[in-house]
């Protein structure tokens, strides 16, 4: 069984619990619907979660909403406006486009044979109109709705309020006066994914050599999109403060879509800031560079996530799973992942970040102990098996 492959990570007890929980709801059919099969965190989770659900006896399908550039331009706008308050809003053409594509997908997405339907994010939220009386529909929202643009949230709420329940990553992301029950389920990482699986030292070293990183000196790593909200320039400033005391290196690695003009501009700014320093490695990697990211995280002395604003920031859990303490900003889901002083540190300024980096470079005992706690924290709270268990719990509670 696929689920058995997780026993080495979580233990026999956890796997047995999942099987028993699944047995208690066997016979129901589940559908997941999102807007893309490849790329992005939601697709990555469903890619493993759906086979796992089938593996434990819950008949599960994954269908993808059909749309084109016109539709996704509108849903991207919705996404941005739900994330932050803005004077901008949806115009009538946007709303018509959204409704038109929702209607077109009524035919394409077959929801009828299923007892439970999970709709992921705002793009397919309008499919709720298809809900049959005995079905349970759950809206799984992966974005932070704590401070939305009110008019846009009111539009989405027209649909989301028709669901039987919703799911958010953390309590802080749930909008005020949510009219349906909101479960709190953080996202997860898959220990079998290329990004997280064990790598032997030869594979790790090969990646470091490929980019010219020195294996013998401390390495500070930040993995993130090239986005100002990830504060890459702040990470460089922190590294420079550390560099006064330690001969260290910094890697900023990420990727961006070719059609993202802002990312390209941010990358230029980072390169300009790092110019002339051969110990700063700016790596713009292809989106499928999972093994490279894995190797960089594993070879880091310290991992930094100096975001100004963050969704959940699952990259923190990825590093922690590799036994790395993370020094992160006190924002978004990072607050939920780091336990200050035990699995890493919160840092509230560039100077504070530098101070914590130095502390961990000097104190090898602390580094090792925190790294061990960090891995344990992920094993217990942020692996896909926990995510699966939570979904089964939601289904079971809704079927009662």
């Amino acid at each position: 069984m696929l689920i058995e492959r997780y026993t080495p990570f979580v233990g026999k007890g956890d796997v047995e619990e999942i099987k028993k929980l699944a047995a208690s709801i066997r016979g129901i059919k589940v559908l997941h619907v999102n807007s893309t099969r490849i790329g992005g965190g939601v697709a990555e989770i469903l890619y493993r979660l759906v086979p796992l659900m089938n593996d434990i006896g819950i008949e599960t399908e994954w269908q993808v909403m059909k749309g084109d550039e016109k539709f996704f331009r509108v849903t991207k706008k919705i996404h941005n406006l739900l994330h932050l308050p803005s004077a901008e809003s949806l115009d009538s053409a946007d709303i018509l486009t959204f409704l038109d594509y929702t209607y077109r997908n009524f035919e394409a997405i077959n929801t009828e044979p299923f007892d439970v339907v999970f709709i992921h994010d705002p793009q397919p939220v309008g499919l709720i109109v298809k809900k049959k009386k005995d079905q349970k529909w759950i809206w799984r929202c992966h974005i932070d709705l704590s401070t939305p643009t009110e008019s846009v949230w009111n539009f989405i709420k027209t649909f989301s309020s028709g669901y039987g329940a919703s799911i958010f990553h953390i309590s802080e992301f749930v909008p005020e006066h949510m009219s349906v029950p909101a479960f709190i389920i953080p996202p997860s990482i898959d220990p079998l994914h290329d990004k997280n699986r064990d790598l032997d030292s030869d594979s790790v070293n090969a990646v470091l050599r490929k980019y010219g990183i020195d294996l013998s000196r401390p390495l500070i790593v930040q993995i993130s999109r090239f986005d100002r909200l990830k504060d890459p320039l702040g990470a460089i400033k922190a590294y420079r403060l550390v560099k006064k005391s330690f001969d260290c290196q910094l890697t900023l690695a990420g990727s961006f879509a070719a059609d993202d003009p802002e990312a390209s501009q941010v990358l230029s700014e980072i390169r300009e800031e790092a110019a002339g320093d051969n110990d700063i490695f700016i790596l713009n990697l292809p989106p499928d560079s999972h093994v490279e990211i894995n190797a960089l995280q594993r070879s880091a002395t310290v991992v930094v996530q100096k975001s100004i604003r963050e969704g959940f920031g699952l990259v923190v859990a990825e590093a922690m799973w590799k036994g790395k303490p993370v020094i992160g900003s006190y924002v978004g889901g990072i607050r939920r992942q780091i336990i200050n002083g035990l699995t890493g540190f919160f840092a509230y300024s560039t100077e504070g970040t530098a101070h914590r980096i130095k502390e961990l470079i000097i104190n090898k005992g602390l580094l090792a102990a925190m790294g061990e706690n960090a891995r344990e924290q992920v094993r217990h709270n942020f692996l896909i098996t926990r995510h699966l268990k939570d979904y089964l719990m939601v289904i079971k509670s809704m079927m009662k």
């Binding site: 979580v10 233990g11 026999k12 007890g13 956890d14 047995e16 619990e17 028993k20 929980l21 208690s24 958010f168 309590s171 802080e172 749930v174 006066h177 949510m178 029950p181 909101a182 479960f183 709190i184 389920i185 336990i339 035990l342 699995t343 706690n373 344990e376 924290q377 217990h380 709270n381 268990k389 939570d390 719990m393 939601v394 079971k396 509670s397």
Partner: protein, 208 residues
């Protein structure tokens, strides 16, 4: 003698919609929220972070600490879960401590989001009919099984004991039962607790 049926407790968190950022609001919420909410915040430190020995023993204490009230944080943290056998008693004690804290009109920077535990219990398909089979099965259990039988059993049983001790006592193993009862899950990780219990069980396999 009845068989010992190994079970696990599973949770998923649900937002209650109750969010407070003043002492008065918190006080009111503590008196009004349902017991599954108290349960969640009181036991989460063990359910989610059992492998760490954190600074404070429950969510309430962490919140007061984050908002610059270390004395109240400490008083919340030392409410000893082993003393109480009902959530009603826990609520009364929380309210008493909050009442003693007096007035504080500040609006705290970090709100407290009340969540409830949606709980379920699953049987693991292991039933022990002798101390030997109990020990054998105990070796394979996970932490949520331990949590159910050891940590929160007292709320179910309404007395200061746990499922393991109760069954072992019925099996004539009084000393073993007592030794397990003496454990404090807030002082050790559940991994440590499991190792300790296993050691006691094996040491006393043929005695008592």
């Amino acid at each position: 003698m009845d068989k010992f049926v190994f079970k696990s407790e599973l949770w998923v968190a649900q937002n209650t919609g109750v969010k407070v950022n003043t002492l008065d609001g918190f006080r009111r919420a503590i008196s009004e929220v349902d017991e599954d909410t108290l349960y969640y915040h009181f036991y989460r430190s063990i359910f989610e972070f059992h492998f760490l020995i954190p600074t404070y023993s429950n969510d309430f204490a962490f919140w007061f600490s984050d908002n610059g009230l270390p004395i109240l944080a400490e008083k919340m943290s030392i409410i000893d879960p082993l003393v109480y056998t009902s959530l009603g008693d826990v609520r009364a004690e929380l309210s008493r401590v909050l009442q003693e804290a007096g007035e504080d009109r500040r609006r705290f920077k970090t709100p407290f989001y009340f969540q409830r535990a949606i709980r379920d219990v699953v049987e693991l398909g292991m039933e022990a009919d002798s101390v030997s089979s109990f020990i054998e099965m105990f070796e394979s259990i996970g932490v949520y099984c331990l949590f159910y039988h050891l940590v929160t059993a007292r709320l179910r049983l309404g007395e200061s004991t746990n499922d393991f001790s109760q069954w072992l006592r019925a099996a004539g193993r009084e000393e073993t039962a007592k030794e397990i009862e003496s454990l404090n899950p807030w002082m050790f990780s559940l991994y440590d607790m499991k190792a300790f219990i296993l050691d006691v069980l094996k040491r006393k396999r043929n005695v008592d």
